[in-house]
């Protein structure tokens, strides 16, 4: 089985390539890159006017399986990811049961083996049952193949326990991902605290519930010398704190999600529950700071925080609706529209945020189109315009914040391990 992609603009930031080149895939590997490769492959793709990039990597995805197959499954999430140009995802462990021991990781691995269309990496929990009381078997999770640890959805409130977790993770050589939120400060809030929460008569969530915990997590990372990754950064103060930490040489990386550089608290004014997520949509100042952070490197990567919920859980009163939005199918196009076409980033920088950097953070040999590398490739139509339609979403849940939005930039084809897993 071989695929020849001809005449596209190959952007491979790791190997500092940006030019019109052909790329030949044989079996599951990249076998040749060059000009005018002889067209003798089983499949030939004409990629003129297209961008060829390493497959995208989304390190924050809620697959909901096992336990909430009514929201999403490994099969549906990976199909949606493939449609979004994504070839690797990191599955968050807040499932039922939570991925907190060898048995549960094996259960999920079985499902992945059977149903996944793309690479699915597993994130284990920091604490048993994500309860923040007792550490998971961190070494065992690492040995069984977990790529990171997180209690995502909750933060480990107990400083001593978190310090201990980071020490264990450091010894085991596994990354810790922090959902940095102090629930004592965010309380029962449902949207960003400010004039808009006052207008809407909804309880607010102050930014300090995020950045104070970011600050604590960084302090513990410094003490324990363990690398940490801050999930879904949404406010300007967090970015400032992370910037300072990086300057000090602390091993911290972070991500933001497309909705935080596209939407603000003002998009909640119609009580649309698809605008309800945690952390909440913030102010215009925060949005500007997020874009700036992506530009200057304070923010390493973009992750969707894909959080599917059924209509029963979303199409209800705002304060009762679940937090979270889906994002796999729109992540690339929203990023292209808001960051590249707006002039904030160039294509190469965007590919770093969506592929190269998450690969580095997770320590996986991906995000690189070099010779003999695994052929995870995305073909992009950079100027293709399209509109997000609810009925066209293939994720099992339809809770997208971008329904009805016009986007510029589309995924044409996704290749994972040398196989075409999506074609527009």
């Amino acid at each position: 089985m071989s695929i020849l992609i001809k005449g596209g603009r190959l952007i491979d930031p790791v190997n500092k390539i940006d030019g019109v080149l052909d790329i030949l895939v044989e079996e599951n590997q990249i076998s040749k890159i060059g000009k005018n490769i002889k067209p003798s492959a089983d499949t030939i793709i004409d990629a003129q006017g297209k961008i060829i990039a390493p497959g995208l990597i989304d390190m924050h995805v809620h697959m909901r399986q096992p336990g909430r197959e009514d929201k999403e499954t490994v099969a549906t999430a990976t199909a949606a990811a493939a449609k979004g140009g994504i070839t690797t995802v990191l599955a968050m462990p807040n499932t039922t049961p939570a991925i907190d021991c060898a048995e549960h990781i094996e259960l999920l691995q079985g499902i992945i083996k059977q149903d996944a269309r793309i690479n699915v990496l597993i994130c284990g929990t920091i604490t048993k049952g994500r309860l923040g009381k007792e550490l998971s078997e961190i070494t065992e999770l690492k040995q069984k193949g977990a790529h990171a640890l997180s209690d995502d959805g909750s933060s480990v409130d107990d400083d001593a326990l978190m310090r201990q977790a980071l020490q264990k993770a450091q010894q085991a050589g596994i990354l810790t991902i922090c959902h940095s939120e102090d629930k004592r400060l965010s309380g029962k809030g449902v949207i960003n605290l400010g004039f808009n929460s006052t207008r809407l008569g909804l309880r607010g969530i102050a930014s300090e519930s995020e950045y104070k915990r970011v600050s604590r997590d960084i302090q513990l990372a410094e003490e324990s010398q363990a690398p940490i990754h801050i999930a879904h950064v949404s406010c300007r103060e967090s970015i400032e704190i992370i910037t300072q930490a990086k300057k000090k040489g602390i091993k911290v990386t972070c991500e933001t999600a497309p909705h935080y550089f596209t939407l603000t608290e003002e998009d909640v004014l119609g009580y649309d529950t698809n605008m309800k997520m945690n952390p909440p949509l913030r102010s215009r100042l925060d949005l500007a700071a997020i874009k700036q952070g992506l530009k200057n490197g304070a923010i390493d990567c973009i992750a969707s925080d894909h959080a599917p919920h059924t209509e029963n859980e979303k199409d209800i009163e705002f304060e009762r609706a679940e937090f979270g939005v889906i994002g796999l199918e729109t992540e690339f196009a929203v990023s292209a529209t808001e960051l590249v076409h707006s002039g904030a980033l160039d294509w190469s920088k965007l590919i770093e945020k969506l592929s190269v950097n998450p690969a580095k953070i997770l320590g996986i040999d991906r995000g690189d189109l070099g010779q003999a590398k695994v052929a995870d490739i995305v073909i992009i139509a950079p100027d293709q315009e399209w509109k997000v339609e609810k009925n066209s979403l293939i994720s099992k849940s339809k809770n997208s914040a971008f329904i009805g939005r016009s986007l510029k930039g589309a995924v044409d084809c996704t290749i994972c391990s040398g196989k075409i897993v999506y074609k527009r």
């Binding site: 605290l193 400010g194 004039f195 929460s197 006052t198 207008r199 809407l200 008569g201 909804l202 607010g204 119609g270 009580y271 029963n312 199409d315 209800i316 009163e317 705002f318 304060e319 009762r320």
Partner: protein
């Protein structure tokens, strides 16, 4: 200017002209309640449903009286007697009422934004009779109607709202309505009962009731909404009364003909003294009477808009 909206969700969403139109329409309906036969056929053959998810007597009865004086049929649904307790979603309940061919839903709900959501999901009219901490537009309209009746105008008036602003939909609707009509609103409350950045509405803030009363043409006194925020901090009652309670002594230092309003029910001795509640400046019962005219106007206008739209 004709009325074009199928719903009334809040005063934030209305223009000054639309608010004026409601007030003018209410003026012409007020007379109906003074007739021997208190009925006009304006909404004959229409069905209005009172859908109340929160206990309320005065607002529900006021809407019922208003609808009946317009000859509409009225059905009351309270949560205890409906399928709501069985876990039916709000939208499903609304769609069922629509399928019964009702014309207007008047809803009281404990969640902010519930009326907005229902209005979006339905073709029939939705009137917000209070949603969470968000808005209570007909209460503010009747407050404004009463003020205008007493003082002849709204533009240029100084209106002080005192009490639990944070949890009050009445406060929010009054701020929007009064500000749009050109009044200057001053909010007076302990800091813990002021919502963040409320001054962005154009309202002034004062923490001293005597100062807030000094130039006030009217004062609207709110109730503590203990039931709307479990676990939140509230001031100690006696202490609150000492610092913010409206007493005759305090009123003596205010304008002589200051108009004293209260949306009810009153907690005598907590937010105002009995003497003030029953005193010569109080218009509390007139507010109740005017509520009928204002609600008749709103029912009439949304029904008319619905017809014109079809």
């Amino acid at each position: 200017m004709p009325w074009t909206k199928k719903d009334l969700l809040g005063l934030e969403y209305l223009t000054a002209e639309e608010i004026e139109l409601i007030l003018e329409t209410a003026e012409s309906f007020k007379e109906v309640s003074t007739r021997e036969i208190k009925k006009v056929p304006a909404l004959r053959g229409k069905t209005a449903v009172n859908l109340f998810y929160e206990p309320s007597t005065r607002t529900r009865v006021s809407f019922e009286v208003a609808a009946k004086r317009l000859s509409a049929d009225v059905i009351n649904i309270a949560t205890e007697t409906s399928s709501v307790r069985k876990g039916e979603t709000l939208i499903d309940t609304g769609k069922n009422i629509q399928a019964l061919k009702a014309d207007i839903i008047i809803m009281r709900h404990n969640c902010s934004g519930a009326a907005n959501m229902l209005a979006r999901a339905l073709d029939i009219s939705v009137i917000n009779a209070g949603d969470g901490w968000h808005e209570h537009p007909t209460q503010a309209l009747l407050d404004i109607f009463t003020l205008k009746e007493k003082l002849g105008k709204i533009k240029g008036l100084n209106v002080t709202i005192v009490g639990d602003i944070a949890h009050s939909r009445v406060a929010r609707s009054n701020i929007w309505g009064l500000t749009k009509l050109g009044a200057q609103v001053t909010l007076c409350a302990p800091e813990m009962l002021l919502p963040v950045e409320i001054e962005k509405t154009g309202a002034k803030i004062s923490s001293n009731i005597d100062e807030a009363l000094k130039n006030a043409d009217a004062i609207n006194v709110l109730r503590m909404q203990f039931e709307r925020d479990e676990g939140a901090a509230f001031p100690e009652q006696l202490d609150y009364y000492k610092k913010f309670g409206i007493t005759e002594e305090r009123l003596k230092k205010a304008k002589k003909d200051i108009v004293v309003m209260h949306p009810g029910p009153i907690n005598r001795g907590i937010e105002m003294s009995s003497e003030v509640a029953d005193g010569k400046n109080s218009v509390i019962l007139e507010q109740v009477t005017n509520g009928i005219a204002v609600r008749m106007a709103v029912l009439f206008l949304v029904a008319q808009a619905k017809e014109a739209g079809q």
